[in-house]
Subunit: 269 residues, 2 copies
């Protein structure tokens, strides 16, 4: 087996298509059909409104559910556990400090990451509402589709079709890129589970410290922090290091205070 | 009005999307919605099985039929009267002496023809059967989509979505190239002075907290932290926010300790 064959094999891996809170079984079925059409194997469904299995999905899938078996998750965190880089698809621009890519740019980048061993996820939001801002904040980047502002309500299945097509379209082109030397082979970013663990740790300590004021702003403030941290694509090691930093900052000063008090107490004795 | 603006206007013309003998109103409605999504204005329907207007189409169009009015024709010849070049979309290869293009190639070519004043049509066949061989024979070229041979039954609406996206994809790229200076107008990253100020603040608090152990490792540990933080290209606002975080973590817990001690002292009184 020569190098080129191996690289072609690595390239043929497809990303996880992740439907977040989908409502209509019809759309899930249509997404499964599209996934099968374009040769995808990893379809994940987070908290489908009407449960799973879903007869409407089966009807729309037109046999695709015999080719592809969606994994169903109760929570997004669970669906993202093994994912290294996740993209959020949005039609509407959001007021967020996030890198925004066109589908072609995003997928070219995602494939480069994948060829370095990363597992890629692409998030699709619910009908009407799309992805929640918190979910977008946790994503590594946003993919926007070139939708007319005059009629921007894109059906969920069509969003999946466009992304799936774009992935397969670039395949041939990307095989060329894959043959470039591994100049940018940097360490994998932490999984989303580790990243969210770090952000949860930070949030818990900031809550302890009374940082969030007024408390209603907690979500917004965390979203902004997440967006900033996510851009750095921290490695597992860096995430661990920063958890040590949080711990040290939160506990250290406490210990110093305690030490100071103890010293003061002792001096008063 | 300069050349670039004029060229952008010429580019904004879209081809006629022509559904030939569509069966399900749902698919016609979905196609109308996609056409509106991607800014198409010319949707033609040839001999729809269930007549026109069609309530199922209206439901699936989700309002798109107020934005785009399909023209309905009894015969394909009538629908093609004003068309100069017509492409036939097919998923399955046909045994025919025809030029076969990928969607990206075909659309690049179609745009070149359009800029010379041609009116372009793209044909989509009926559910299941696709386009009749006679229709394909009369087309100028075939567009194939990169469909998996293992599950090649592509829904009509998805075929329209992929072609419409492919048309607009090139468009967005063109416009972007015209606007290059603005395209990456993300907020500027903080100055190095602000960034170093933040890292200095973090280091000072970590030293206070006894984080660096053994102390000789301080430089190395800070270097690793800096590398991680620098990759995110934080804005001035994000740097300020994070300085607030450092302060809260370092002081907050101290204050909690102090409060605890004071409370303990008071209880002992």
């Amino acid at each position: 087996m020569n190098r080129k064959v191996m690289s072609a094999e690595a390239e043929s891996k497809t990303p996880a298509l992740i439907l977040v809170n989908p409502q209509l079984g019809e759309n899930i079925g249509a997404a499964a059909r599209i996934a099968a059409n374009f040769g995808f194997s990893d379809l994940r469904i987070v908290n489908p409104r009407d449960g799973w299995p879903n007869p409407a999905a089966e009807a729309m899938a037109a046999g695709a559910l015999e080719v592809i078996t969606p994994q169903v998750y109760a929570r997004l965190e669970d669906a993202l556990k093994d994912i290294h880089t996740v993209y959020a698809t949005t039609a509407r621009p959001r007021d967020m400090e996030k890198i925004v890519y066109g589908a072609d740019e995003a997928i070219a980048l995602a494939k480069a990451k994948q060829s370095q061993g990363q597992t890629i996820g692409i998030l699709f939001g619910a009908e009407k509402a799309g992805l929640h801002n918190d979910v977008i904040a946790g994503a590594d980047a946003i993919i926007t589709l070139p939708i007319s502002p005059k009629f921007s309500s894109l059906n969920l299945a069509q969003a999946v079709a466009v992304i799936a097509y774009e992935w397969v379209r670039g395949e041939a082109q990307n095989q060329k890129e894959a043959q470039k030397p591994f100049e940018e082979a940097r360490e994998l970013p932490a999984t989303k589970q580790d990243f969210e663990g770090m952000m949860g740790h930070l949030q818990a300590e900031l809550e302890e410290a009374g940082y969030f004021y007024p408390p209603e702003k907690t979500d917004l403030m965390m979203r902004n922090l997440k967006a900033a941290f996510a851009r750095g694509e921290w490695t597992t090691q860096e995430v661990q290091t920063f958890r040590g930093v949080i711990k040290a900052l939160a506990k250290g000063r406490g210990e110093k205070w305690r030490a100071g008090r103890l010293l003061a107490d002792r001096n008063q004795e």
